[in-house]
């Protein structure tokens, strides 16, 4: 099903969606765009390139409470926080970020133990993807094409949006998406010409140019394994790295977390909080031993995990080329340049 709506009617679309569930969409904030729960339909703003923090935070928030307790009380009084399953509409996700959900599913619900918090939100969410603007050039940090992701790939979204002039075309990709589009009143029917434009955009998205040539995941996997003991290479690659956590926090496919008990004024929560392999204490063991004390060891782990170990174990590179790690790195460490350099070594 293909529908359309004028861009100036975006608030109408947003309020329609708000009637179907909690709407989470890009909002302009003090420091750039972020996905936020919409309380006023006018907040939704499609004039963004991408958000600072990836939409993974919608399914896997930076802080997630599991148990709430009060100190000095019997353990039985502690209460478990149940996973939320309220209907959620995630609006305006870029194709590379949509792809990241599939990769994250591997860890949270696809293999081994299922994370009920992730799964409940994922199942209750309708994803509305949004194509990048193909009339502009890609940002210098992006390289999703290198990883085989198009700038307008609708796969993975329930509804996919493409902008055509002053109109927004919305196409249902799944049955859930179709049901949602049917239930929104303000949408107009689209013409055959719109349908052609939509399909052409999807096709053009596959030829859209971002940095780097395409990679052979298997070759990269092997190469990074071979380079593991080449300390000189990794020291050079990590010479500028500050070992902060911006790259991992902004990343759509980084999923490491820590479980902490945080108590303040007698009230406490057992919660998970994002952690980062770039932090010194990430690998600190109870004995005091730390297997990764050096910056190069931590950066090697991050790159190895994404482009080598992950491929070996799950068959897919754990990166979607959104470019956030490079864009927000205070010293411009460029992850894929390091992979490219490795291939030349």
């Amino acid at each position: 099903m293909l529908k359309k709506i004028a861009i100036h009617q975006l608030p109408d679309l947003a309020s329609g969606l708000m009637g179907k569930g909690t709407l989470v969409a890009p909002v302009r904030q003090d420091a750039g765009f972020q996905f936020r729960e919409i309380t006023d339909a006018k907040q939704v703003d499609l004039n963004y390139h991408n958000t600072v923090i990836s939409p993974k935070s919608v399914f896997f928030p930076q802080t997630e409470d599991f148990v709430r307790y009060r100190t000095g009380r019997p353990m039985l009084e502690a209460e478990t926080v149940e996973p939320e399953g309220k209907p959620l509409i995630l609006f305006g996700v870029r194709p590379c970020d949509v792809k990241s959900f599939e990769i994250m599913d591997i860890h949270f619900s696809g293999t081994g133990p299922v994370d009920p918090y992730w799964q409940a939100r994922r199942e209750a969410t309708t994803v509305i993807g949004y194509a990048f603007d193909l009339s502009a050039t890609a940002e210098p940090e992006e390289f999703y094409r290198t990883l085989g992701i198009g700038a307008a790939d609708p796969e993975g979204s329930d509804v996919f949006m493409v902008r055509r002039g002053d109109e927004l075309l919305l196409k249902s990709i799944t049955a859930r998406g179709e049901a949602l589009l049917e239930a929104i009143d303000d949408l107009a029917g689209a013409s055959a010409d719109d349908g052609k434009f939509f399909d052409d955009t999807v096709a053009a998205g596959r030829d859209f140019k971002t940095r780097f040539a395409c990679v052979d995941a298997k070759a990269v996997t092997k190469k990074l394994e071979d380079l593991f003991h080449n300390t000189e290479f990794w020291e050079k690659a990590a010479a500028a790295c500050l070992s902060c956590g911006v790259c991992t926090f902004a990343c759509p496919t980084c999923y490491c977390f820590d479980i902490c008990d945080e108590t303040l004024f007698g009230r406490g929560t057992r919660r998970r909080v994002w952690d980062a392999c770039m932090f010194t204490d990430f690998t600190l063991e109870a004995s005091g031993h730390n297997p990764r004390t050096k910056v190069y060891q931590r950066l090697r782990q991050k790159i190895g995990h994404k482009y080598s170990y992950h491929v070996r174990k799950y068959g897919v590179i754990s990166c979607v080329g959104c470019g956030r790690c490079t864009r927000y790195c205070p010293v411009s460490v460029d992850i894929f340049s390091i992979v490219e350099e490795a291939m030349k070594t």
Binding site: P140, K236, V246, V331
Partner: protein, 288 residues
């Protein structure tokens, strides 16, 4: 400037080649090519042929003094510094984190350096705004004469006009945005504690999650730990992915510190770190 960025780049390369060839130093800290022209990145030259990788352009904001403590004591290091960066080197020498005789300091007088993220000129609004390095062995370029176009503390006027409640509300709003990536402390040349207090678990000084309590604990402690030590290079604020104006607090503390003790951080190698140097004539205003 009388000397162009390109000429500075050329001279940095020549000096690097000479210093590494003669064995005077075992590495040189400068800037190198990043993923595009607007994003040069910190660079370490270890052999004469690495010298050609050195880059200097208007986006070389990074304070290379940050990397000094990464190398074992006694490593002979050449370091390229702009004005504020040189203050960090001086402060690190004062705090005995590096030895003066292990360093060859290449001072670069510069203005018109731009923040790669915003394109804005980095001046006294977000840094100390000085043009000339305060300490160097080799001058790359020519000293710039005249007062900085924007003095370091004018930007504080609006902040200082706020009362206590307004200031708290201001910082709460700004710091609530923090995602605790710790880019600020990692970019800071003076943040070298290992482990940082916020990473300690016994005792745990602050919460790990990015919420008001933990964020205030982390930032307010860090702000105060840098009292009299912050050289106002602005790296913390430029590193921040969510644009928290950390420099405002640092500037305010630096200004108060200067007023109370008549000493700004890292301005002279003869100075002792202000908060560990007791003098009978010191003001006791801090206790009021």
């Amino acid at each position: 400037m009388a000397v162009s960025f390109q000429q500075i780049e050329e001279r940095l390369r020549n000096e690097a080649r000479r210093l590494l060839e003669s064995g005077e130093v075992s590495l040189m800290l400068a800037w190198g090519k990043g993923y595009d022209e607007n994003h040069p990145m910190p660079y370490v030259a270890k052999c004469p042929s690495d010298a050609d990788g050195i880059v200097f352009n208007e986006y070389c904001t990074h304070n290379m003094a940050r990397y000094l403590v990464r190398y074992p004591r006694g490593t002979r290091i050449a370091i390229a510094v702009k004005a504020a960066d040189s203050r960090a080197v001086v402060q690190l020498i004062q705090e005995d984190k590096v030895k003066r005789h292990d360093l060859v300091i290449l001072g670069i007088p510069a203005y018109g350096i731009r923040n790669p993220k915003t394109g804005e000129v980095v001046d006294g609004r977000t840094t100390c705004g000085l043009y000339n390095p305060v300490l160097y062995d080799i001058l790359i370029g020519e000293e710039v004469h005249g007062q900085p176009a924007s003095p370091p503390y004018t930007v504080l006027a609006e902040y200082e006009a706020m009362d206590k409640e307004a200031r708290f509300a201001f910082w709460k709003k700004e710091l609530d945005r923090c995602i605790r990536c710790y880019a600020c402390r990692k970019a800071c040349p003076m943040c070298y504690c290992d482990p940082c207090f916020i990473d300690q678990s016994k005792p745990r000084w602050g919460e790990k999650s990015p919420e008001t309590a933990g964020n205030l604990m982390y930032h307010l402690t860090r702000f105060h730990h840098l009292a009299g030590r912050c050289v106002d290079c602005g790296e913390c604020s430029r590193a921040c992915p969510v644009d928290i104006p950390l420099y405002l607090f640092h500037k305010k503390v630096a200004k108060d510190c200067e007023a109370m003790f008549g000493q700004a951080a890292g301005m002279s190698i003869e100075d002792k770190p202000v908060l560990v140097h007791f003098r009978a004539e010191d003001t006791d205003n801090i206790l009021k």
